[in-house]
Amino acid sequence: MSENNTPMLSIKGITKAFYPGTVNEKIALNGLCLDLNVGDFVTVIGGNGAGKSTMLNAVAGVFPIDGGDILIDGVNVTRLPEHKRAAYIGRVFQDPMMGTCANMQIEENLAIAARRGKMRTLKWSITGGEREKFREMLAMLDLGLEDRMTAKVGLLSGGQRQALTLLMATLMSPKLLLLDEHTAALDPKTAAKVLEITDKLISEHKLTALMVTHNMKDAIAHGNRLIMMHDGRVILDVSGEEKKQLTVESLIAKFSENSGEDFVNDRALLNK
């Protein structure tokens, strides 16, 4: 590992308001600051409307932010459009339908992902060598997808699609992996399998990752660092040994302590 003091992701006081100037104005990000070191796998928790997904979308460039700066590996990407930032970022969404093209084959989807950050030219969209590589990668998922490479992705289950999306997101070893509640739409056992694949791919590619989850147990069990968000800011940031000692109860206690409010999030409570 090279000694590198530049954070892989540096969020410098970003703000974002939705519906500004109307009665519905919602300040989703309120001077949010966060630095991720190279190799950090950070889980993100917080109540509904805390700004978790907004933070991920702001980093990915889905919408312009109102203020602040976002740097990826020292490069200021604040003004880059979404498709250009994609050169640095792999993403998996909450909705399993979102990360893949249903009407295209598994291998076609992978081939599109294999060209992330590159010019799309008039060369043939998939090469024989790539097919072999994809087959090996799919085999590692252990879902039998390697024998169905020409099947349309629309035929896969939600869990299989999330696993494929993960593979697509990590195929080009992104500088940053953004996981937006990517197991929330899956049943518990499928979610566990997808999380297992997530851990495997992150450690294999030595990725820096941000994983939003509503499941506190998952947030504690995965990654090396945990942050809690509230009202568009980070209100808790624990890592290393301290993180390992966390329990769901202690997290809820810390939430009330740091936010000055009771933890009122049915979904998170149900997920204990």
Binding site: A86, R91, M97, I112, R116, S157, G158, T190, V194, E196
Partner: protein
């Protein structure tokens, strides 16, 4: 029998329109009405150039290029100025009405006394015009189908296909979806103008109202083709289906006209056929037949939960 052969010959050149509409409607999932203006653009530009004594092939190529520009304009209006798809197309179509009148200098342009692709080749090869148009139509369709098959198999073509299916995924994978839409619409309208350039030479005149209802004709061809080639897995077969659909449509029209149906009623009949076809396919959808058709949602949620069991089975040992 001659009227059937003529219908087929016409069908083959109208098939280019259907292929163009296929790119916008099916591949890009973009309801592009500029079609009605670009087919006339192709016809008026080609006619104008021919009356000025231009080489027919050159006139055809320039018409294609002009169609590409018009399509790119629609794409620009939609992606950069954020105008909704249908309105972008209508705006281009409306603007093209004036452009086409300026190009032709009047609402009609006769090609009786000028050299067209058909007149010069019938003279040179001394064959019947109907046979000649069948040969030209077949060759042009095969060339365009081959080109489309190649193009949509390339990296750029695949990203255009993906844009029509899942834009958000495309941007996450680094595809500039504004650009892919503009390129797709340019190609689509280029083909539609190409169709117009052949039509005016075949019928021997160009008219400002040539394009009226052309979107529906294109859709009818696609729907007929898809109904016949519903099992087509191969992209080339899908394209073949569309060409066959366009030919069938024209032959049916030719037959109907042969039996003295008033010409004015052709368009209402076409509209009726499309409505009926859409309704029937939607109905078939409800019965559980999966059929990707216009308007029916592109995704197939029916298969969701099917194999989560498989994922679970493999992952079961993680927490049990």
């Amino acid at each position: 029998m001659d009227f059937i052969l003529k219908g087929m010959a016409q069908g083959l050149i109208w098939a280019l329109l259907a292929l163009g509409v296929f790119i916008s409607y099916r591949i890009l999932d973009f309801a592009d009405l500029s079609c009605e203006g670009t087919i006339t653009l192709g016809a008026s530009l080609a006619s104008m150039l021919l009356t000025k004594g231009a080489n027919p092939v050159l006139a055809i190529l320039l018409s294609f290029a002009a169609g590409c520009v018009a399509g790119a304009l629609t794409g620009f209006l939609h992606t950069k100025l954020k105008i909704p798809p249908i309105l972008s197309g209508i705006l281009t179509m409306t603007a093209l009405f004036s452009v086409n009148l300026h190009i032709m200098g009047s609402a009609n342009l006769q090609l009786n006394s000028v050299k067209t692709l058909y007149t010069s080749l019938t003279a040179a090869l001394s064959i019947n015009k109907t046979y000649l148009s069948l040969i030209i139509g077949t060759l042009v369709c095969l060339a365009v189908m081959g080109a489309l098959y190649w193009f949509f198999g390339t990296e750029l073509g695949a990203s255009i296909r993906a844009t029509g299916i899942n834009e958000r995924m495309c941007r996450a994978q680094g595809i500039d979806t504004d650009m892919t839409k503009i390129i797709g619409l340019a190609l689509s309208n280029g083909l539609i103008a190409l169709s117009g350039a052949f039509i005016c030479q075949y019928q021997g005149y160009s008219n400002i109202n040539l394009g009226v209802g052309s979107i529906v004709i294109g859709l009818a061809s696609i729907i007929i083709g898809e109904a016949i080639f519903s099992k087509a897995k191969n992209f080339f077969l899908t394209l073949t289906g569309i060409v066959v659909g366009a030919v069938i449509y024209r032959v049916v029209i030719a037959v109907v006209l042969y039996f003295d149906m008033p010409t004015e009623d052709v368009k209402i009949m076409t509209a009726f056929v499309v409505v009926a076809a859409l309704f029937i396919t939607k109905y078939a959808n409800k019965l559980g037949k999966r059929h990707h058709i216009l308007g029916a949602t592109g995704q197939a949620p029916a298969n969701e939960a099917r194999s989560d069991a498989a994922v679970r089975e493999k992952g079961g040992n993680t927490d049990e």
